[in-house]
């Protein structure tokens, strides 16, 4: 190596060292901010990042860093103690709660819904899907679009005799959990043979990755049916069908219907908020709806973090809810908000 080369190397080393020092100084500067780490569900990520951002603007000393790594990952990290709180689209199971060293509280934050989307030749209007029809299609027992079960629910619509191509999510997801939770209530066959979960053993169909993967497959494949989150269908102008609710009515999903489902379930809401609101009673309740939860330890030893998290929860249940509809999330019903506000005092 020549002298020149050596000098350049030494120079670049010095520059690198300087940069490191500067970076370290910058980190030290931000020491006044209280950093709270959280991780979990991807479905509510748009509203959570909005909330955390707005909250940070109002309380510049608190920064909540949320990683949308998926509900399963959020629960695992919470159990491992690597995050301050978690978030999940499905309530934790008793088994999972048993693994935790401290008690974990569930706080419903927003509501979401799942809608069926389809691509059937010659059909432009909204199709009606009875509970039996959706379960039959996803079980593989209903295979043609002109199946009597579909014809009966759609008087006046000329359904073709094409094969139904079933599309589902291939990645583990809260959307699949909500959808299969509904199917388990709609059909005993589904409940006993397939069950509910973020990932399941699908009896039939193609898998698409993410809402966009499912939508892409449905758009491209004639005769296909899939399911996507309401927020995704609305923001991307994807047409979707009506679903029969517990009262027998065919409803097209909208935010009011989702809140109605939650209100219907609020009456017998358990104290730990772990409740499924799919197929909720009520004429106006949209049947494939669900809460999504923040998972918060009941004991937080760091007083600063504890106060910040409690304050954030109060804000989220009040002013925070105003941001929901702009992002196509349904608001929590008043009764649930009141109950949650009381539960905040359990955090110690």
């Amino acid at each position: 190596m020549t002298e020149d080369n050596f000098n350049t190397m030494r120079k670049s080393l010095v520059v690198l060292l300087l940069l490191f020092t500067l970076a370290a100084a910058a980190v030290a500067q931000s020491g006044g901010t209280l950093l709270i780490n959280a991780a979990g569900a991807t479905f509510p990520y748009p509203i959570y990042s909005k909330w955390f951002d707005v909250y940070h603007t109002a309380h510049s000393n608190v920064q909540i860093n949320y990683q949308s790594i998926g509900s399963g990952g959020g629960i695992r990290q919470l159990l491992a103690g690597t995050v301050d709180f978690g978030a999940s689209d499905a309530p934790m199971t008793d088994d999972q709660l048993g693994q935790s060293k401290v008690k974990i509280l569930h706080f419903p934050t927003v509501l979401g819904a799942v809608v069926p989307t389809y691509n059937v030749a010659g059909v432009s209007g909204d199709l009606n899907f009875s509970q039996k029809a959706i379960a039959g299609i996803y079980l593989g027992t209903i295979t043609k679009w002109n199946d009597p079960e579909l014809v009966k629910a759609n008087p006046g619509v000329k359904l073709p005799g094409d094969d139904i191509v079933v599309v589902h999510r291939s990645d583990g997801s809260g959307t699949s959990f909500i959808f299969t939770d509904f199917l388990s209530k709609a059909s005993d066959d589904w409940k006993n043979k397939v069950g509910k979960g973020a990932s399941i053993n699908w009896p039939v169909g193609l898998g698409g990755k993410g809402n966009e993967g499912v939508t892409g497959l449905v758009k491209q494949t004639p005769g296909s049916i899939g399911y996507v989150e309401l927020i995704y269908a609305v923001s991307n102008n994807i047409p979707y069908g009506k679903v029969q609710n517990a009262a027998g009515k065919f409803l097209k999903a909208d935010l009011a219907g989702v809140t109605a489902a939650a209100a219907g379930a609020a009456k017998d809401m358990p104290d730990d908020f772990r409740v499924s609101i799919t197929n909720a009673p009520g004429v106006t309740s949209y049947p494939i709806s669900s809460f999504t939860w923040l998972l918060i330890p009941a004991q937080i030893s760091d007083a600063g973090k504890r106060d910040a998290i409690k304050d954030f929860l109060k804000w989220m249940l009040g002013d925070g809810q105003k941001f929901n509809e702009g992002l196509s999330y349904a608001q929590l019903p008043k009764a649930v908000v009141g109950k949650e506000l009381k539960a905040i005092s359990q955090i110690q």
Binding site: M1, I69, G70, S71, G72, G73, I75, R76, T93, Q96, D163, V165, S170, D171, G172, S173, G174, V194, G195, K196, G197, A198, S199, I200, N201, W202, G205, L206, G207, G208, K209, G213, G216, L217, Q220, T221
Partner: protein
């Protein structure tokens, strides 16, 4: 020239008198030795830690399913029943399809670029090919979804099913229904992804064949093609095989592009038009939401299986190279 000079230096016997440590340090030999050794050992350490971690974390699944893990084809996270067969099958089939399509294509292109094309054109095209090799896989996935999948469903699929579908023996590989997504589509997208590797590496290897080899063949009265096919290509075959195995390694581990076009359905089907699933794809799809301990452990065991597959295939590749090297120099 300078490289050969250094090699000569290294090959030369050590100086008569023992050099002082300071002297050796000053010249950097010892330092370079220690640094390079550390890094080489680091690779070894990294690999063994990887295997160790996969082995330990897959304990639950290995204990519960044993060898059945390889033989059963149910993958049911709800009832905690896991079998890897459809994923292993899908990984092997898509990689095989990719290589069957990409090797002839890549080799032919490399021969053209190194032997026949004018140097300027060859250099320009190689630059573009190297660019292709650097394109992120998700881009190929998008290309797959919007171009290859519709093409397969509306044009290529019906033609293949209509023609090859009736041929005895191979007909079973070309049966409907044709959704556009499936093993063949994934194989084609993978082929598009790995072809740049084969071309780029093979071309470099072909260019290193000494000119004397070509001249000797031509002097003996061989035509240009004969000289290329019977002398230059056999001379370079170790390197060409290397490029093929590099391509295979990429095809086996590819995740994003495959999951976007394969249909993600863990079934074993003879038809190349059927939807399937690969190991890398299922790990990427399900890992984030895997909550149960056994479920997570089974996914990690899939990772171990993929590692083993790469290991075995690489071992076979080494054997193949050794075998062909033995016959090297006497191309028939």
């Amino acid at each position: 020239m300078s490289t050969s000079a250094t090699t000569m230096d290294r090959a030369a016997p050590p100086e008569a008198g023992p050099r002082s440590l300071f002297h050796r340090l000053r010249h950097g030999d010892e330092v370079a030795h220690v640094i390079t050794l550390t890094f080489a050992a680091g690779i070894l350490l990294l690999t063994s830690m990887l295997v160790y971690e996969l082995w330990v974390s897959s304990h639950l699944s290995r204990a519960k399913f044993g060898w059945n893990f390889f033989a059963t084809s149910t993958w049911d996270p709800v009832f905690d029943d896991f079998g890897a067969a459809p994923y292993i099958y899908g990984t092997l089939v898509t990689s095989a399809v990719a290589l069957i399509l990409a090797v002839p294509l890549g080799l032919a292109a490399a021969i053209f670029l190194s032997e026949l094309a004018p140097r300027k054109m060859s250099d320009t095209i190689s630059f573009l090919i190297d660019l292709l090799a650097a394109v992120p896989s998700v881009i190929y996935g998008v290309l797959g979804i919007f171009v290859v999948v519709p093409l397969m469903r509306t044009t290529v699929g019906p033609i293949l099913i209509g023609s090859l579908g009736h041929v005895p023996l191979i007909g079973q590989f070309f049966k409907g229904p044709n959704y556009g997504v499936g093993f063949l589509t994934a194989g084609i997208v993978l082929a598009i992804m790995v072809v740049p590797f084969i071309i780029s590496v093979s071309r470099e290897v072909l260019l290193t064949v000494p000119r004397e080899q070509r001249e000797a063949a031509l002097a003996l009265g061989a035509t240009r093609w004969e000289a290329t096919w019977k002398v230059v290509v056999p001379w370079a075959r170790t390197g060409i095989l290397g490029s093929v195995f590099l391509a295979l390694a990429r095809a086996l581990g590819e995740t994003m592009a495959v999951t976007m076009v394969i249909g993600n359905n863990p079934k074993i089907a003879a038809s190349l038009f059927a939807p399937g699933y690969t190991i890398a794809a299922v790990i990427a799809n399900e890992f984030t939401e895997a909550t149960g301990d056994l479920y997570l452990s089974a996914l990690i065991e899939l990772g171990l299986v993929l590692f083993l597959m790469t290991f075995i295939l690489n071992g076979l590749a080494r054997l193949l190279i050794v075998a062909t090297e033995r016959g090297g120099g006497h191309p028939s």
